[in-house]
């Protein structure tokens, strides 16, 4: 209560209190907007570069990409997808011909959500590359889903019809079989499940092979063009 008494003694007007807060808020707002604006180009460029690198990694032979979304019953190229809108990336070769899709997927893993990107060739119904974007799987075990080159290589020519199956290491016989990781079966199966689920989710929406949207001619939303 002594603190109250002291406050009473100095009691500044409520106008002054509001003014102080308002000025603090204003200055803080200006500072935040300043730093946001000045770092935004670098951040978006970084993100776009990371995305491009990932897409090029999972889709061999691709030199350009654009974002594709499903709107009004068909897949269209958009410069900037809306927030929360499901998106895939179309990969195009040097002549601007369509090569395949890079499809992002996510789902629960052993420890936490696993987010990944995989390359898909609709003409061959094959997965041709896979990259883990985010995971908190156990170091030394579950993290082999991206640290074990052999496991990642399993996804370089993999049929998705019928769905991918993870089998015990060394027993894969079919084109849709993946050798699971010894000791980290759950993580390996999670990767497979995420790809299967993503594939099923998009299967109906992707256009027939050969009718993919052409490359729009300008770089997709990669931040460099602002």
């Amino acid at each position: 209560m002594t603190a109250d008494a002291r406050k009473q003694a100095a009691a500044p007007s409520s106008l002054r209190l509001v003014m102080t807060l308002a000025i603090a808020g204003l200055v803080s707002g200006i500072a935040i907007i300043g730093i946001y604006e000045s770092t935004l180009p670098t951040i978006t460029a970084n993100k776009a570069r990371e995305l491009r690198e990932a897409v090029f990694k999972v889709l061999p032979g691709v030199s350009d990409m654009q974002a594709l979304v499903y709107r009004e019953g068909r897949i269209v190229a958009v410069p900037k997808p809306q927030k929360d809108e499901p998106v895939v990336y179309g990969g195009y070769d040097e002549r601007g011909d369509f090569v395949g899709y890079a499809m992002p997927g996510a789902g629960p893993g052993f420890q936490d959500t696993i987010a990944l990107l995989y390359g898909y060739l609709p003409s061959r119904q094959q997965v041709v590359g896979m990259e883990i974007l985010e995971s908190r799987e156990t170091p030394g075990l579950g993290d082999k889903i991206y640290k074990d080159a052999d496991f990642v290589a399993e996804f370089s020519a993999l049929s998705v019809e019928p769905e991918i199956v993870a089998v015990k290491k060394g027993t894969s016989t079919q084109p849709n079989h993946v050798d699971a990781i010894t000791g980290a079966t759950i993580s390996a199966k999670a990767v497979v499940r995420i790809i299967n689920e993503t594939h099923v989710a998009w299967a109906e929406q992707l256009p027939a092979p050969g009718t993919e949207p052409p490359f729009a001619g300008e770089p997709a939303d990669n931040g460099t063009g602002q």
Partner: protein, 214 residues
């Protein structure tokens, strides 16, 4: 005398009043990001930037800010610095930012930072406030680093990514997992207690000897 005073403010945070080992503050970022030495240092730097920056501002404006709204003002100041740190790290070192993830915004909720504003920066001249903030942040960094180093050395057989023991070292994976954070800090605190206990014992012995001597 003046010089000693600010030196004193600096040193107390590093050792005697170490925010983590002695005052047990700021535990959340402490444990969450110390699975490697580099993450620990990055978190320490970000916290130091926020703490020193806000201490400076709070101290400069300590006569201007009315008591009634001081906490709100402190929080606005701290949150601003944290946002600046967040975006700067994201722009300059995206890899580190990804590792630290959501724990950079959580610096705001680090009780150490708000605590220093309330207990020190809002009452003392700017020079002392900055020295105090530097000392506290240095102590925090020291704690983060020692925890991060121990966890990375045992958990990964490396320090700052350099392998220390050769390829066939068997890493203690638990150390970079959450339980390892709790256990390592628990054991470090244990050593601190033991050290204090021994020191007290030693001082008591010395006092005893002096008394019997005189």
């Amino acid at each position: 005398m003046k010089k000693n005073e600010s030196y004193e403010e600096f040193v107390k945070g590093i050792w005697r009043d170490n925010p983590v080992f002695v005052q047990v503050l700021g535990m959340c970022p402490m444990l969450a990001v110390t699975n490697s030495a580099i993450n620990a240092i990055a978190m320490g730097m970000a916290s130091m930037f926020v703490l020193v920056g806000s201490s400076f501002l709070v101290s400069v404006f300590r006569h201007v800010i009315p008591k009634q709204v001081r906490i709100s003002c402190f929080i606005i100041i701290i949150a601003t610095f944290v946002t600046i740190a967040d975006y700067t790290l994201l722009a300059l070192v995206p890899k580190v930012h990804k590792e630290l993830g959501a724990f950079i915004p959580l610096i705001v909720a680090n009780c150490l930072i708000l605590g220093r504003q309330e207990a020190f920066a809002s009452r003392y001249p700017t020079r002392l406030a900055v020295m105090d903030a530097l000392g506290m942040a240095g102590g925090f960094m020291l704690a983060l680093f020692s925890l991060g180093a121990v966890r990375e050395i045992l958990g990964d057989g490396a320090l700052f990514g350099f392998r220390l023991f050769g390829e066939s070292f068997e890493p203690w994976i638990v150390m970079i997992l959450p339980p390892g954070g709790f256990l390592t800090l628990g054991v470090i605190l244990l050593f601190f207690n033991w050290f204090k206990y021994k020191k007290d014992e030693f001082l008591a012995d010395v006092a005893e000897a002096e008394r019997s001597g005189s």
